[in-house]
Amino acid sequence: MTAWDVFLQQVINGVSLGAMYSLLALGFTMVYGIIELINFAHFNVFMMGSFFALWALQAMGFVGQSHILYGLPLAGVLLLALLATMLGSGVLGVAIERFTLRPLRGVRGTAPMITTIGLSFILYNIILLGAGADSKNYANPLPNTAWMISGGATLRLREVLLWVVSLLLMLGLHYFVRFTKMGKAMQATAQDQEAARMVGIDVDKVVVITFFLGSALAGAAGLIFGLYYNYTSYIIGYQAGLRAFTAAVLGGIGNIPGAMLGGVIIGLIESLGGQYIAVRWTDVIIFSLLVLVLVFRPTGLIGRAAPTRS
C-alpha cells in the first residue's frame, strides 16, 4: 500500500463511520428541533435496534455467517430485517415519549433530560439482563465481497451497502420533512409550538412522529452497525451515541443537513486522526472539537436551518 492508498482507505473507513454517526445524529437533532430536549435514551435505542435486527435475522434462520446470500434474496432479507428493526425501534421511541416524556412536557429545567438519562440506563440494563454481557456474534448473510481500487485500497460490499442505505434514508427523511404535509407540520412546530397549535396542528402527533422517525433511523443504524462490525453488545450505545451527539452539535443541533455533515466530519476525524496522530488520541481530538465549536460557534457549523424563534 502506498501512502495514497492508505489515505484513500482511511477516507473510506471514515465515511462509513460517519454515515453511521449521521443516522444516529438525526434522531438527536430532530427531537431537539421539535421539543428542545436532548434525548439521551437515543444512545440505547440505537443499541436495542442492533439487537432487534439480530433477533430478526436469527428468526429468519441466520446464525453467524452460516448462510451467505447474493442478489435479490440478500436484498429481500436485508429489507425485511431493516423494516422489522425500524418498526421495533420506532415503536420503542414512541413508547418512551408517550409514557415518560409526555407527562413531563412543559416542565421547566432539566427534569425531562435527566429522565432520558435514566431511561438510557433502563434500556441498557434490560439488554444486559436479558441477553447477557458477552459480545454477540452477529448474524450475517453478507458475502465478503470486496473491490480493489487504486492498487492497495479496497472497498467492501458492506461499506457500499452502508453508504447506500444511509443515503437513501437521509434523502427520504429530507423529502418527508420538506415536502409532505406532516413534514411541514414538523417544521411549523419546530418554529413555534404555540402558533402551530393555533393553526390546528396536532402537536402531540407531530412529537410522536418525530420520535418514531428518529428512533427508526437509530434502529437502522443499529442494523448497519451489526452487519458492518459483525458484532453487537449491550455496551455499544455509549461511544457511538456520544460521537453522534457531538456530530449533531457540530452540525448545529436542530438542523437536519447539519447532522449529516457533522457525522461525516466526525467519522473522517476519527479515521484520519487515528492514521496520522494515534488512535489513543481520537477521543481527545473529537471532544476538543466539540468544546471549540460550543465556544466559538454555539449554533454549529451550519447553524439552525429553521428560522429563529420569535
Partner: protein
C-alpha cells in the same frame, strides 16, 4: 420521620435476634459447630466481556471448597465461599472501583480469612493496598501484571510491607518477553506492531513484550492503544496494513480483543497475530469465533494442565459438576483454593488463632502439592515456577466451535530468556 426510623430500627433488631436464634438452632443440628466456620472470598468479573473465563475460574475454586466440605470440612472448619462480582455493567468488563468495594466488604467481615482472585491485574492493583492494610492474603489464579508484587512498588501495593498478593501463575515479566522470544525464534518475526487495550494488564504486558522484542532485534514499527469501549478498529488496522509488519502483538483482554480479531481477519488476514492470557480463553473464542480467531497465538502464564494426566480427575469432576469444560485457569484457581485450604489446616492444627494474619503467614510458607506441581512463593508472593505456555487457535471441525480444549491447540513451552 425520626419516629418511623426508630421503630424501623427496633423492628430490625427484633428480626435480627429472631434470625440469629433460628440460625443457632439449626447450626446445632448440622455437622459443624456454629463457631467453626471460615469464609473465603472469590472475586472475579462475572459481568461483562470476560464473564465466561471468570466463571471458569470461580468454578475451579468452588469445586475445591465443595470437595473440602464434602469431606467434613478442613480440620472441623466448614468453608463458606463468598463470591463477589468484580465486573460492572458500566465498564462492560472488570472494574477496579468495584474490585476495591468488594475487597472492603471482604475485609469488614472478620470471618473472611483469605481470598481467591482477582482475574484481572487492574482489579489487583486496586485490591492489594486494601488487603495489605487488613493483612489478608489473596491468591490470584490469573492476574499477571508484575507491578503488584514488585518490591520496588511495595509502598504503593503493600504499604504494610508483608506480601498479601500471591499467585499461582507467573507474571507478565515472563509472559511478554517469552512470547517475544517465541515470535523471534519460532515464527521468525522481524517486525511487529504492538497494541494494548489501555488496561493495567494490557499496557504492562505489551510493554514487557515490546522491550524484550526490541532487545532481541525485532523492529517495533508502531505502538498504539485501543479503547475497549470503541467498536471501530479499522482505522488502526488500516494503518498497520500500510506499515506491513510481519506480526501484531496485542496486550489486553477479550472486550477489545474480540473486535480486534474480527476486524483484523478482514483487513490483515494473513498477518501473524498474537497476545497473552487475556485472549487465551472461552470469552475470546466464543466472542470472535471462527474464522476470525483462526491462527491467533496466545499464551498462559503457567504450564498447560487440562490435557495432562495429573488433572484428568479434576477435569472429569469439573465437567460432571458444572457441565462445562475447564480451562487452565480453572486449575490454577483450584490450586489457589488448595493452598488456602492447606493454610487453614496448618493454622487449625498448630492451635494458633484462626485469623487473617496467621493464614497469610501460612500461605507465605506454603509448600503445597497441587495439580500444577508443588506451589511455593517467593517473599513477594510470586510463584517460583516460571513456565509460559504457547497456544494457537486452529479450527477443529470435528469438535464444537466453542470447545476451548479442542480449538485452542497447545504448542509448546515458550523459550525462556
Amino acid at each position: 420521620m425520626t419516629k418511623i426510623r426508630l421503630s424501623r430500627r427496633a423492628f430490625n433488631v427484633a428480626a435480627l435476634t429472631g434470625a440469629t436464634a433460628l440460625a443457632t438452632g439449626f447450626g446445632g443440628l448440622s455437622a459443624f459447630a456454629a463457631d467453626k466456620v471460615v469464609k473465603i472470598g472469590i472475586t472475579v468479573p462475572l459481568t461483562g466481556a470476560d464473564a465466561e473465563d471468570a466463571t471458569l475460574i470461580k468454578d475451579g475454586a468452588m469445586l475445591a471448597f465443595e470437595e473440602a466440605n464434602a469431606k467434613g470440612g478442613v480440620h472441623g472448619y466448614k468453608i463458606v465461599p463468598v463470591v463477589y462480582d468484580n465486573g460492572t455493567a458500566t465498564a462492560g468488563q472488570y472494574d477496579p472501583a468495584q474490585a476495591a468495594t468488594n475487597t472492603k466488604k471482604l475485609v469488614s467481615d472478620p470471618l473472611v480469612v483469605a481470598n481467591v482472585g482477582p482475574e484481572m491485574s487492574g482489579d489487583g492493583k486496586a485490591m492489594s493496598p486494601i488487603l495489605s492494610e487488613a493483612d489478608m492474603a489473596t491468591i490470584t489464579p490469573a492476574s499477571t501484571n508484575p507491578d503488584i508484587t514488585n518490591p520496588k512498588m511495595a509502598g504503593q501495593f503493600r504499604p504494610k510491607g508483608k506480601a498479601v498478593y500471591f499467585r499461582t501463575v507467573t507474571t507478565d515479566a515472563y509472559q511478554g518477553p517469552e512470547m517475544a522470544n517465541y515470535f523471534k525464534e519460532k515464527l521468525h518475526v522481524k517486525s511487529v506492531f504492538v497494541l494494548d487495550d489501555s488496561g493495567a494488564y494490557g499496557v504492562g504486558l505489551a510493554d514487557a513484550f515490546q522491550n524484550r522484542a526490541k532487545k532481541i532485534g525485532i523492529k517495533i514499527v508502531g505502538r498504539d492503544q485501543l479503547n475497549p469501549k470503541e467498536a471501530d478498529y479499522t482505522t488502526v488496522l488500516t494503518k498497520i496494513k500500510g506499515l506491513h509488519p510481519d506480526a501484531i502483538y496485542y496486550g489486553g483482554v477479550a472486550q477489545a480483543g474480540v473486535k480486534l480479531a474480527k476486524q483484523a481477519h478482514e483487513i490483515v488476514p494473513k498477518m501473524i497475530k498474537g497476545g497473552g492470557d487475556g485472549i487465551s480463553g472461552g470469552s475470546f473464542l466464543s466472542g470472535a469465533g471462527f474464522p476470525a480467531v483462526e491462527g491467533w497465538y496466545s499464551t498462559n502464564a503457567g504450564p498447560h494442565l487440562t490435557e495432562s494426566p495429573k488433572a484428568a480427575k479434576f477435569v472429569k469432576d469439573f465437567k460432571a459438576k458444572f457441565n462445562k469444560v475447564p480451562d487452565d485457569y480453572s486449575i490454577t484457581s483450584y490450586d489457589a483454593a488448595q493452598v488456602i485450604l492447606a493454610a487453614i489446616e496448618k493454622v487449625a492444627k498448630s492451635g494458633k488463632k484462626m485469623n487473617r494474619s496467621n493464614i497469610r503467614d501460612a500461605i507465605q510458607n506454603s509448600h503445597v502439592k497441587t495439580l500444577q506441581g508443588t506451589v511455593s512463593f517467593d517473599k513477594n508472593g510470586d510463584i517460583k515456577d516460571r513456565t509460559v505456555s504457547v497456544f494457537q487457535y486452529r479450527h477443529d471441525t470435528s469438535h464444537p466451535a466453542d470447545d476451548l480444549t479442542a480449538q485452542l491447540k497447545y504448542l509448546t513451552v515458550a523459550p525462556q530468556a
